[in-house]
Amino acid sequence: MNAPLKKLSELTGVVFDGRRSGYVPPKTLSISPKLKLHKKAKKDLDPVTFEVVRHALWNVNEEHGATIQRLSGSPVAMYALDLNPSILTQDAEFVYFGPYMQYMSGVTDTQVKWTLENRSDNPGIRDGDMFLANDPWVGAAHQMDVMLLCPVFWRGELFCWVTNCLHQYDIGGITPGSFCPSARDAFDEGILIPPVKIVEGNEIRRDIEEIYLRSSRKPSAVALDFRAQLAGNMTARDRILSLISRYSAETVKGVMRKIIDDGERAFLKKLSRLPDGIWRDRTYVECCRPGDRSVHRVVLSLYKNKNKLVFENEGTDPQAGGINATYSGWRGAIMVALNELMCWEQYYAVGGALRHVEFNPTPGTLNCADFPASVSTAPVQCMEISLYPAYNVLSKMIYPDPELRRDLMCIGGTSQWPATIFRGIDQWGERYGYLLVDPIGGAIGAFSHADGISTGGQARTPICKLPNVEHTEQSFPVLFLYRKEITDSGGAGKYRGGLSAESCFIPHGTDSIVHDTLSSGNAIPTSSGMMGGYPGAVNRYRFLKQSNIFEKMKASELVKDISELHGVEETLQLRQQDFIQNPSDVYAVLWSAAGGFGDPLERDPAKVAADVENGDVSAAAAKAIYGVVIGDAEATERERNRIRRLRLHNSKTRSRKLDGPIRLLATENLAVRGERYACAKCAADLGSIKDNYKLGCVRKDLPIEASNPIVGDPKRFIDPQPQFRQFCCPGCGLAIENEIAVAEEPPLRDVELFLK
């Protein structure tokens, strides 16, 4: 047994300098005196000037993003909008970032801070310079997310930074496209570039650019994108300089500071309305390398102590195979949820909130991996698995406040990305390779007061669009049999999670297609529900060899589901490589759906009936999970009571009602009365607030298949046995909370309050 890994706050003698361990910026940056910083900021800004300049800065960033979008040559980047521009102060506090790929914001400030610390002396940071960077140990999601950092100078002083990040089509590594599922470590992956001065005195350094382009299989596409990034920075820099010449540097800096300070004030106000405590979430990643049948645990804890938040990943398994993320990836992922749930009304100005958020990672873990772990798949694996639990812990933290409660959100769809990576010769006779973008259609999780949004996109890329089927069929040799929302995929709950969809295609205009899979969350759902809600569907590949599709097509009888066809079913593994799809082989991929909120037995039966009519929920699930007999209110009530009794069957826990007023609602179903937890519905005692309330509940361990109708036998992919555990009120049978765990794990203490 290895010694347990230690967290940052417990370690001594480890340098978090972005070389072996991820770069964790010190509180005070060490910047060379050669670099003069512009610090003067006007304090007493009049409201009109503030609003005018604030609006202009927002527009600068928007134009920056628009410039990159117009110029980038990469369709994958453009459909997925895999880019983001930012403005930061001279000392790398966020002023604004953009509404595109949210991951990228969270890795930008560390990148700039590292550059300030490590480049201000040699080679120096001067007017007209720009730095190229993609090293995930310094600050990047993965190697393909290449950043261009541009210092903006005013009269010899560093005034601020404008930066952008853009996903590149290919920057090397053993797999075309640079997602390397079978990488042993970072040396099998794309080039690593710690910040390097690629533009000097407004001139591109050809020598550096050539090193960069030389790493790519598609140097012309990378060169085009580099120009898009360059143009974006130049546009933003010029506009900021013209703002300075019009309003004065002190005023513009004052506005930047005030944007951050106002955001900070709003954030603190929210924190002051919330109780202190710890909130935790636990989830699992599957298949870290081809042939791996184990699962890898990821734990996230959020500590709130007055006006400070601390995120930790203690309990997360050691780094392994090709699924890892670095510290900056983990932090960046958490910042996505933090922004969306707690800072959304600041419009992408998270700098102020970050002053009160600390990260205390345990190095050597899956989502804080040390060099040279493989990290190229981080954004679809260990960052995703770091992000989505952050929605859960933050949602539970803000729930006690009735107003903030309305901002919470359950985990959305595509919480692990089921990749379809394929290649060959296309219908135009040319070589191609593609990562199917469809799963970006995702699904949005349920809210505390409304259903989630079916195929509403991935929460981390709020304005992306998946390509039309006709776009994909034009560019690649496939024919889609269907792309449809999947009945029952949305997590059940008082408010239902959004449905996800499935894409199904055959080769068309080609002899065959060569595929790789890359996925996780196929055995164990990763979009758990919340506060009694059920998880959304798992990822699912279906592959039917030698099917009768051509007979069907000839007879003009198309199918709406792969199960209507005959053929040889083959179970695809989660990192299966180089398998062949011949013309009559049918391939289908379902991406995971969104989690539900609250006990499904509490859902309005009229809503369930509408769901059934719309095909969102099957009649079978309506009865089994929601206890609804369509069109019969009495039978519904009987069925719901029967299910509640079943939940308490054989329970030895005796129920005792608590009186006294409710101090607060810790969750939808969990009240605090005096010093004890109680069922929010029937006031049954659930134990002291010093203990895990789950121990006061009636626990039912169900097979994982019970959590969602789409979940199948986990043994196809993993050896450990996952469970769907329900923790119910001993008094009334209300599902207080559910959890998904591997059999041997103890119940997670997801809520721990420190009440005075």
């Binding site: 009109v48 110029l71 089927v469 024919l479 198309l558 709406k560 719309n614």
Partner: protein, 699 residues
């Protein structure tokens, strides 16, 4: 005598512009008459006849061209009063319209709020899932039929939809724009089964690449069809009854008009056509003034709309959105932001910040000064407090404004952030003016146009108060506030000035090298479609004008650029010249050096704009020009707070109706007309030109 008549029906007023052969313009304004808007239209014509001193019958007989802009379609969507629609589509792809490409339709919404998911749900579906039927059939990307149409399934689908009581059926199959046979066959099956149901095929409304935006266009068209075609037929009959002898023309969002028959089958074309008519009018006026580059701005109560006319032609967009639905439709591009007279002003005392808009007080409760119960100050309140507006003479004296309530509201607001009332009112105007400058920047600078090459037209009740400021901010040459008389019925005037316009599109992705023959065959087909339609409409060949264009992109890129062809057919050696034109336009849009020299190109859409020239209004230039102002034009001075001067000043006020060509007014000053208040800011000079427009120049 023969007349050109344009009629614009809005939610509140129905405007009518009548131009006689000599070019004399007469305008009338009557209340709209919802829900039966056709009555208001007849009232407007009646008022016109009365003003001309002839009987309504006689007047209608003498109309040579009558075109009509309507908001019936737009209102149908806003009020969700459209038809019950059934959709027939390719089996397996029934959900495309619901999946919405995995987006929530953020077009036109506040992008800053897009990460707040609780307020970004998808819109209510145009067609619920239970009214969508998948039918076995399949065409591939080459336009080849790979699964023939299953007619048994199709018939069953039609019958079951009719049994559900649908009033309209939309038909949209994958790749139908490459091969429309299946859509057309299902249409005739529908027509065999029922004569009463409205039918739309996607190829007839949006033959474009991308099934989500195409099916949405088709479904929306079906949703509007029964309502609109009923309305238009009724109108057409009434006019014929009155003796109007020509075809009624309906304004459309591509600029120009379509005959009433086409508008009935493609009502989607009428969405947003009202503001587009304003652009048509601007184009017409710009041409008369010799101005080829115009920024048109329209500031009303709730929004600020901007469009660009470059080299005499309007900018187009090809994907539109309404109520979060995104759909294909060639449309004159209008950018809008929520900045109008009714935009609400809010402050946060704890951060000492102030914001204006994007939400609006609308007409009800409206600004505080309307006295209809509004308590949150608006831009209009700020204008009143500064003294720009005369409380006793607002809208030509039709409405009294409550100065003291507005002043108190702004003072109270200012107090919360430690500003006095005047500073606060001036600040509100400044914020909104710079927001407007920013949106104009987006459609000019960010699209490769230099505002200094443009003049700026300012319409709308609220625009002329601020145009002088945001125009200077952008560096445009001058501001024009169009003809006094026409300004208030500008869209009606635009309707009268419009040509008949049909846009035909063919989508086929053709990578270079491609022979001229192949493209010319496409152009031939487009032109024969156009000729047939125009012949059916009785348009003589001599009046037909054709303009061809290609949407071109770098192979593999997403951005397409429309290149207008200088040829009616491509010459054999077209490629080099076309590439040059593409690169020029591309680099204008995206920056010098952005085009990839020598890269493979793709032609995506071939387009034909087929116009029928119609009689035009003739603008009359005044021959007299004088600097001497009539005494009666000078009104009582008013105390006005000028933000630039940071003080009050007794300011001259003029009656705009009494100014004559050549008259000049040096700012600071105010010029009032019955419809608007022109604020002549310090440092600017207003001059009346020979057409009767106000021009503001910068000193």
């Amino acid at each position: 005598m023969s007349y050109l008549v344009g009629i614009d029906i809005g939610g509140t007023f129905t405007d009518c512009a009548i131009v006689d052969r000599a070019g004399k313009l007469l305008t009338t304004k009557v209340p709209s008459t919802p829900p039966d808007f056709s009555r208001g239209m007849l009232d407007a014509l009646g008022a016109g006849a009365q003003a001309l001193g002839v009987s309504l019958d006689r007047f209608c007989r003498d109309i040579a061209f009558l075109s009509h802009g309507t908001t019936v379609g737009t209102n149908t969507i806003i009020q969700k009063r459209g038809a019950k629609v059934g959709l027939i589509t390719t089996k397996g792809h029934e959900d495309a319209i619901h999946i919405m490409r995995g987006s929530r339709g953020y077009g036109g919404r506040d992008i800053r709020k897009v990460v707040h998911f609780p307020e970004t749900s998808k819109p209510a579906p145009i067609v619920p899932k239970r009214l969508i039927r998948g039918v076995s059939e399949r065409v591939d990307c080459f336009g080849e039929i790979v699964v023939s149409l299953n007619e048994t399934e199709a018939e069953a689908a039609i019958r079951s939809l009719l049994a559900e009581g649908v009033q309209a059926i939309a038909i949209c199959f994958l790749w139908s724009f490459r091969n429309p046979a299946h859509e057309q066959r299902v249409r005739s099956l529908v027509e065999n089964i029922s004569k009463d149901v409205f039918v739309t095929c996607s190829v007839d409304i949006a033959p474009k690449w991308g099934e989500y935006e195409r099916v949405t266009a088709t479904a929306l068209n079906a949703y509007l069809g029964p309502v609109m075609s009923g309305y238009l037929q009724k109108l057409d009959f009434s006019l014929k009854d009155l003796g109007y002898r020509h075809g009624l023309q309906i304004t459309q969002c591509g600029g120009g008009t379509v005959p009433v028959g086409r508008a009935g089958e493609a009502p989607l074309l009428t969405l947003d056509s009202g503001p587009v008519s304003g652009v048509t009018a601007s184009m017409f006026l710009g041409a008369a003034m010799g101005e080829k580059n115009v920024i048109t701005t329209d500031m009303g109560g709730t929004s600020f709309d901007v469009s660009i006319i470059h080299d005499g032609k309007p900018a187009y967009s090809f994907v539109s959105n309404t109520d979060q639905y995104e759909y294909f439709l060639p449309k004159v591009d209008l950018q809008a932001i929520g900045a109008g007279g009714g935009s609400l002003v809010r402050v946060k005392p704890e951060t000492r910040t102030m914001t204006v808009g994007p939400d609006s007080a609308g007409a009800f409760p409206g600004p505080v000064c309307y006295g209809r119960g509004g308590s949150v100050p608006t831009v209009t309140d700020a204008e009143l407090v500064l003294g720009y507006l005369d409380p006793d003479n607002f809208a030509g004296g039709k409405m009294k404004l409550d100065f003291s309530s507005a002043a108190k509201a702004i003072q109270d607001l200012g107090k919360k952030i430690n500003m006095d009332a005047m500073e606060c009112a001036a600040g509100i105007c400044r914020i909104v003016e710079l927001q407007m400058a920013d949106v104009i920047r987006k459609v000019t600078v960010e699209k490769g146009f230099d505002p200094r090459d443009f003049v700026l037209f300012a319409f709308g009740g609220a625009g002329p108060a601020h145009a002088g400021v945001f125009a200077r901010e952008l560096g445009v040459r001058k501001v024009v506030i169009p003809q006094r008389k026409a300004a208030s019925t500008w869209c009606a005037f635009g309707a009268a000035a419009a040509d008949v316009l049909h846009i035909f599109e063919h989508t086929e992705i053709m990578p270079t090298p491609v022979g001229a023959d192949r493209i010319n065959r496409v152009l031939d087909a487009l032109q024969s479609q156009a000729k047939k339609r125009m012949a059916d409409e009785g348009i003589a060949a001599g009046r037909q004008r054709f303009e061809f264009s290609l949407d071109v992109r770098h192979k593999g890129q997403i951005n397409e650029v429309e290149v207008l062809l200088p040829w009616s057919r491509l010459p054999a050696d077209f490629e080099l010249k076309l590439r040059k034109m593409f690169v020029e336009r591309y680099e204008q849009l995206y920056g010098r050096g952005s085009a990839l020299a020598g890269a493979q190109l793709e032609f995506v859409v071939s387009r034909l704009r087929a116009r029928a020239l119609t009689p035009r209004p003739k603008l009359v230039f005044s021959k007299r020009s004088s600097k001497t102002m009539a005494k009666s034009a000078i009104r009582k001075r008013r105390d006005i707070y000028w933000p630039d001067l940071r003080k009050h000043r007794a300011t001259p006020v003029f009656d705009g109706e009494k100014l004559i060509s050549g008259n000049q007014v040096r700012g600071p000053a105010i010029v009032e007309t019955a419809d608007t208040t022109v604020v002549v800011h310090p440092g600017t000079t207003l001059r009346l030109d020979a057409l009767g427009n106000f021009e503001i120049g910068f000193r």
